[in-house]
């Protein structure tokens, strides 16, 4: 096995757990080919949290679904690699591994938290059973007694009050926040190396949001997991992430550390996005917004995909695609404004 993978020249730097290169995902619909993700590359270091930020429909979720191989017809992963280091040190390409290995990786080494906690739980089973199932599927001959004890432990970590009783509860007997916390507990049941959290706080109110974020951060430190956080809430990004990738219309337009993105945004889209966040301490007459709409991904604009809405657009932007240009250490931006002549 190891020889086979090495032959394929899968090199991953020692401090990284996941590296996605040039991921392209297209959906072949009746209306035409949707270029949902076009050439996205990013990496996650050990124990680091990155955030994918962007408007609705910019391809954040599709990216992570492609990594976990959840894209189904009519969607197709056209090209790209997703190198992942397994706990035994072997590096695999998640887009090419055989189904059996994929099954071992899913749920044990990579865990996924869904947007909607209400429907991510099977209504017919208790929370404890969900945890039991996730553990038992990956380690044979495990006793139910042991997994339920573990479940109580996990639920306690996930700040669920009275876990001994809650472990036997069905999803409908819990509130939304508790369900989301149990989903987190389930995803942590095998101590994964990488956690993908797809808008984990979208359906929750602000106080619970804060609790969940605290919880995720604490658990991330405790388990030393890599975390991919998908969100359009910039507050959450500032709270959680070490590095940020800003996505627009299926491409990454800017990447950098959280400080770089927040204090020194370079791409016009990032700047406008940050301006659109309302300041709760000031009274505003009209909320800021970015003029125009997200372009249709069936016929994405030529050149830079943001140029129709960009206040600084030039003729070059409309015809040629900008490359990734390094502006600072670890801070790269895809925009012609920063081209060094």
């Amino acid at each position: 096995m190891i020889v086979f993978y090495m032959d394929n020249n899968l090199y991953l730097p020692e401090n990284e757990i996941l590296r996605v290169e040039d991921l392209v995902v297209k959906f072949y619909t009746y209306a035409g080919v949707v270029h949902a993700v076009s050439g996205v590359s990013f990496y996650v270091k050990n124990g680091e949290a990155i955030a994918l930020v962007g408007e609705t429909g910019c391809g954040k979720t599709v990216t992570t679904r492609a990594i976990t191989r959840l894209i189904e017809s009519p969607g197709r992963v056209e090209s790209g690699r997703a190198l992942f280091r397994r706990p035994n040190g072997v590096v695999v390409d998640l887009l090419k591994v055989d189904p059996e290995t994929l099954r071992e990786i899913r749920g044990k080494e990579i865990a996924y938290i869904f947007q909607d906690p209400t429907s991510a739980l099977d209504p017919l089973y208790t929370i404890g059973f969900h945890i039991h199932e996730t553990i038992a599927e990956h380690s044979k001959n495990i006793k139910k007694k042991y997994t339920f004890k573990k479940a109580v432990e996990l639920l306690r970590q996930a700040l669920i009050p009275n876990p001994e009783v809650r472990v036997k509860n069905y999803p409908h007997e819990m509130s939304g926040g508790m369900r989301q916390r149990s989903v987190i507990a389930i995803s942590l049941s095998n101590s994964p190396r990488l956690l993908i959290a797809d808008e984990p706080t979208t359906n929750l109110d602000v106080t619970i949001q804060a609790q969940i974020l605290d919880l995720l951060r604490g658990l991330q430190e405790q388990y030393k997991m890599g975390v991919i956080l998908i969100t359009h809430n910039l507050g959450i990004v500032a709270e959680m992430a070490n590095r940020v990738y800003v996505m627009y219309a299926g491409k990454i337009v800017e990447e950098g550390t959280t400080e770089q993105i927040f204090y020194n945004p370079q791409h016009p889209y990032t700047k406008l996005l940050l301006r659109a966040v309302p300041d709760p301490t000031k009274r505003v007459e009209k909320l800021e917004s970015i003029p125009g709409v997200v372009p249709s991904l069936i016929n994405p604009p030529l050149g830079c995909r943001f140029h129709p809405r960009c206040p600084f657009a030039t003729t070059k932007c409309a015809s040629e695609e900008p490359p990734m240009i390094q502006v600072e250490n670890e801070h790269r931006v895809s925009c012609w404004l920063f081209e060094k002549s």
């Binding site: 869904f114 199932e133 990956h138």
Partner: protein
Amino acid sequence: MEFMYKALKKVIWLYANAREKFSPGWITKNSSRIREWELMAYAYSKSPIGVVGGIIVFIVFILSVIGPMISWEPYWEYKIVINESYRYMPPCLPPSCSGNPLLGTDEWGRDVLAMSLYGMRISFVISIVVVLLGAPLGIILGLLAGYKGGLIDEVLMRVTDIFLAFPGLVLAIAFASVLPQRLRGVLEANSALRVFFASLFGLREAEYGQIAALLSIWFAMVIVWWPGYARIVRGSTLSVKEMPFIEAAKLSGLSTWSILFRHLLPNVISPILVMMTFDIATATLFAAALSFLGLGPQEPVPELGFMISKAGQFFPERSSHVVIYLGSLLLFIAIGWNLLGDALRDILDPRTRRAIEYRLEKEKKKRG
């Protein structure tokens, strides 16, 4: 229908207490499950037709199980051999007449009431087993077709279509006319099998030729029975498999098999259970229809459909009592299962059950 609720509650708690004895703390841990059961019992006891159906099915079940043992006349003894006047005796109901068989006799002079006890066992066994064999076959194929999609779905569903398009009765007739000879040979060679089926149908071991005919009806019905289930299960699977919890199950690394049987099947099972209860009634009638056409067992086996068809030759002058009684018996069985199925539909649908739960809470508040 308070008594039904109390009785069911007693059964539930009997079970819970038994579990508690083996593993202390079971009741507190499983309180949600017990509450759900109690709610089901309450929902069931609130529907009068369901209770009536349940009682009928219970009576039919008991009579079918003990029928051949308590039947006071052996079906293989023809009384007309002793006295020709036993043929088609009219019913003899207590106030005006006594001493003779209560519901009259058939053409061989046998007590119709006693014969119908044998008949009930036969039709009960056939109908239950047909549904219990046919439904799982359809469920597995439907689950596979719905979940896998693509080519597998296409092939499985076209085969299902072929079976659905083919008239079930004709297919059953074809099977019932070819199979018995072969099954007869098998039974002749294997005495253990012979004893097993004879005791299952409540017949004598010597009638293995007739048992072979019954088995071939049985087989024919299983063959035509599964397509309906395959179709319904596939339909429900298509909608359930899009639910995020199925994706979540995939992402926790579950195998296809455990997703199918642990997450998909339990979520589509309630319409199937309802359909199964309805189908037991249909299967009873279908089996009777097949033997009415002469495809089932022959003399002396007192199969309900076969006895009706025999009596039909002298209908209505001499044999109307036989036809009316056995016909009503079939109707009774069919109505029982149908009423039960109707009530099950209300209980198994979580939406209607929630409404009932709400009503229960209101009632509790009223009581104080």
